[in-house]
């Protein structure tokens, strides 16, 4: 076991959903899926995105893709044309999630 970034074994994609973003993350093996299901609790993800996500976090599971999907509410400064932020659509939030370090 060693501390590694999710980026070393997981993939992610993110985009906008209203004034929030969605962040999907998935892995290749069942063992890694169990690992990220344990590590990426709603609380852990909310804590990680404290500078970005001002609303609640919801988690969905998709076992067939070995994926988790997170909705980060109020994470875009208004969203769409209302946002003044550079990343008004949360395009980069997936890569931000992959910065989390886990024991693997």
């Amino acid at each position: 076991m060693a501390k590694v970034k999710l980026a070393s074994f997981a993939w992610a994609r993110s985009g906008d959903k209203g004034d929030g973003s969605n962040v999907g993350i998935f892995v290749k093996s069942k063992a890694d899926y169990e690992l990220i299901k344990k590590a990426l609790t709603v609380e852990a993800v909310k804590r990680h995105f404290h500078g970005i996500c001002k609303g609640e976090v919801t988690r969905y599971e998709a076992e067939n893709m070995l994926a988790l999907n997170f909705l980060l509410r109020d994470s875009l400064g208004g969203g769409g044309s209302e946002s003044l932020k550079t990343d008004a659509q949360g395009k980069t939030h997936g890569l931000a999630l992959l910065e989390i370090e886990v024991e693997r």
């Binding site: 893709m65 003044l84 931000a96």
Partner: protein, 453 residues
């Protein structure tokens, strides 16, 4: 019935590369070419254009693209499905017919789908007890009724299939859903019915994978070093079968990458609850799909389950929600971050001297280069230069313009090393608010019209 139909997706959004569709037509076999030209903001821009000119209000990029490939499309019998009609499908139809005549193409059938644009019907609908309340926060539409810019119903795949059935080779819709551009041809080719939920869910899922063009063929992929030849990246082709099974692939010899990971990445894009993806024709369970690599750049999806759609259509309403302006300039080191912060304080301070202040939620300061995309995640280092980006938004257009006047003066009246201001003063632009709502399906009738050169 054909046992295999090839549906390419050449345009992922308004502004995508013209090379996508052109290369799909030229670089290999293709039966259908699907093209998405709309976004929420697009519809409001198009309504404005139509207000100034009754022959405008559609995606002119579509006609520009067709001008390059129409003879080949006609000769090969490729059918084109596009939501390029915007808020004026009739004008788009005329433009395409004109183009075909100019190019000497005879017997080309072009069809349009109308009925999605409900802008002028809103007073009647509200009167008739259809509240069109905001899906996100429940507000009544009356709160913004005087500011509405556009209102469109998301139309599904059966309208596309109907237009194809009437013989159109080019199908032009207004606000068709993106997946409908792919599911429509499947319904038409394979004779699927409105209660073939699993098949319709397959069509929806295929459409969802393809709808952002190259984003399923290696674009925006986490493991980007594994993607070869971004320059010639292949756009996706859905190889569809009558039972709903389909393979995501691309033309041989093109760049990019299709594997399990690139496809799953796109499945998760803009995803809510993966168990229940809502569309106008069905609900789709994305967690039911079996996803397998079956060859080089070939991923097969099968076993997809679906269910009935709801009795409402989603409606996309846009409205004027104030004004905004964003300006930026570059601040060089040493101490770039510290100086950029000072610059921002100077701007807010000088505006306040002139009686112009903004609430915290009406303004933003970003020091690009110090970690704005991943705020609170990645720690800022000491970058040799940064871009200071400042913006405001509010309902007072004059105040927003006043802000814009206070950025450039920093070059001579702030700390040293301020440069890179090339864009002129930022001017106030409209903020287009997005208002998602629901409307009972019995209130919407789509119409199809086909004309021939």
């Amino acid at each position: 019935m054909r046992d295999k139909v090839l549906i390419g997706y050449g345009q992922g959004f308004w502004g995508d590369s013209i090379l996508g569709p052109v290369r799909l037509v030229r670089e290999g076999p293709l039966d259908y070419l699907a093209l998405d030209y709309l976004a929420e903001v697009t519809m409001s821009i198009m309504q404005k254009q139509k207000g100034r000119n009754p022959k405008a209000g559609y995606a002119t990029d579509f006609v520009t693209m067709l001008a390059r490939v129409l003879p080949e499309v006609h000769r090969k019998g490729i059918k084109v499905i596009a939501n390029a009609g915007g808020v004026n499908p009739g004008a788009c139809l005329d433009a395409v017919l004109d183009l075909a005549r100019k190019q000497g193409i005879k017997g080309l059938k072009v069809g349009i789908i109308e009925g999605d644009d409900i802008l002028t019907r809103i007073p009647d609908l509200l009167q008739g007890g259809h509240p069109l309340a905001n899906m996100d926060d429940g507000r009544a539409l009356s709160a913004v009724q005087s500011q509405i810019l556009s209102a469109n119903v998301y139309i599904g795949a059966f309208a596309v299939a109907e237009c194809l059935k009437q013989g159109a080779q080019i199908v032009i819709g207004g606000r068709l859903t993106d997946p409908a551009l792919v599911a429509g041809p499947m319904i038409h080719e394979f004779g699927w019915g409105p209660q073939d939920w699993n098949k319709l869910a397959s069509g929806t899922m295929a459409g969802h994978i393809a709808e952002c063009g190259a984003q399923c063929t290696g674009g925006n992929f986490t493991d980007w070093r594994a993607v070869k030849d971004f320059v010639r990246i292949g756009y996706p082709i859905i190889e569809a079968s009558p039972d709903g099974t389909f393979v995501v692939t691309k033309h041989e010899g093109t760049g990019g990458l299709i594997n399990r990971e690139t496809v799953i990445s796109q499945l998760l894009y803009e995803m809510g609850d993966p168990n229940r993806y809502l569309g106008p024709d069905c609900t789709a369970d994305f967690t039911s799909a079996k996803i397998e690599e079956v060859g080089k750049d070939r991923v097969r999806l099968s076993g997809i389950k679906g269910g009935p759609a709801t009795d409402t259509y989603k409606v996309s309403i846009s409205y004027l929600n104030g004004f905004k302006a964003v300006g930026q300039l570059t601040v060089s080191g040493p101490d770039a971050v510290e100086k950029a912060k000072l610059c921002a304080e100077i701007v807010w301070g000088r505006l306040a001297l002139d009686g112009c202040t903004f609430e915290a939620h009406e303004k933003i300061v970003e020091i690009v280069g110090s970690g704005v995309c991943h705020e609170g995640v990645v720690k800022a280092s000491n970058p040799p230069e940064v871009v200071l980006r400042m913006g405001v938004k509010c309902s007072d257009e004059d105040k927003v313009d006043r802000f814009g006047m206070e950025i450039v003066p920093l070059v001579t009246s702030g700390p040293p090393g301020v440069t890179g201001f090339a864009g002129g003063r930022p001017k106030a632009t409209d903020i287009v608010g997005y208002w998602p709502a629901l409307l009972r399906k019995d209130q919407v009738k789509t119409r199809v019209r086909v004309e021939e050169t």
